[in-house]
């Protein structure tokens, strides 16, 4: 029952944010919705017991790739009229609300981890069964060693290619 609720909530969020990504008029809004979409997918990975992949999703996708997109959106400066709001302090008020939300979230997490001691033992049980990171690391360095090295080479080539493409003149 709880599983179903979590799945349907995450699925609705994923599909909804995906629709917003392709329908938003402003490209920056699209990127923000893309981050939210990636975070929901990461939560789905946690539900599927792929903790390592969830962390990678947040680090690489939501942290790295999306920042790359944001940089390009900022550099490819689409001519938009400057924002003219009647309320000059709207931004600081919004920031205050966001900070309050973050504080509430952190307090909730802190309170939860203090009151429930079961989470630590559950983590230890996963570790005893091999652990998600250990499993993936074992596979990557034994059966899939060649693809792993090829992937690192691909990243190197992509990095050099991106630098050469983005440079003004060589």
């Amino acid at each position: 029952m709880a599983d179903a609720t979590v799945f349907y909530t995450l699925a609705a969020a994923i599909v909804g944010f995906a629709v917003l990504v392709i329908s938003a008029r402003n490209t920056v809004h699209s990127v923000i919705f893309l981050v939210l979409n990636f975070l929901c997918v990461a939560a789905l990975y946690v539900v599927l017991h792929a903790e390592f992949l969830a962390v990678i999703q947040v680090l690489v996708y939501a942290g790295g790739i999306v920042v790359l997109y944001l940089f390009v959106v900022m550099l490819v400066n689409l001519k938009r009229p400057p924002e003219t709001h009647q309320d000059p302090r709207r931004r600081s008020r919004l920031g205050l609300v966001m900070a309050g939300l973050l504080l509430a979230q952190l307090a909730a997490i802190g309170g939860y981890s203090v009151t429930t001691a079961g989470s630590a033992s559950a983590a230890r049980a996963t570790e005893a069964a091999g652990g998600n990171v250990e499993q993936i690391g074992w596979l990557l360095y034994t059966d899939y060693l060649i693809p792993f090295e090829v992937a690192s080479m691909l990243l190197l080539v992509a990095m050099i290619g991106a630098i050469i493409l983005a440079k003004r003149e060589l």
């Binding site: 629709v19 490209t27 990975y45 990678i56 490819v76 992509a158």
Partner: protein, 102 residues
């Protein structure tokens, strides 16, 4: 309420993939098209992770890691191309990207 089966994940992944395809076909802004491609790669990843869980094999997750690697490489090179193109033509509209048409 019926329990969550692999079919549920397949439907979610198919929906996400279709949204990505629609984004590629409908939008004219190339940055949004690139984001739609990322959505499609994510749909594939959801499938891989779901089957890794279903068959209790971590191989699916290893493949998902490779998909993420390729997505990162694709994003870096693709965005570099967008920047180079924008520098020459001052646009990100794919209708005007007809340099290689003859």
């Amino acid at each position: 309420m019926i329990p969550i089966t692999p079919s549920h994940y397949l439907v979610l992944s198919a929906a996400l993939f279709m949204i990505g395809v629609i984004g590629v076909l409908v939008r004219r802004n190339i940055i949004v098209i690139f984001m739609s491609i990322e959505l499609m790669l994510n749909a594939v990843n959801i499938n891989l992770v779901m089957f890794a869980r279903e068959w209790q094999q971590a191989v699916g997750q290893v493949f998902a890691v490779f998909v993420i690697v390729v997505a990162a490489a694709e994003a870096a090179v693709g965005l570099g191309i967008i920047l180079a193109f924008y520098r020459n033509k001052e646009t990100v509209n794919i209708d005007e990207m007809t340099l290689m048409k003859w």
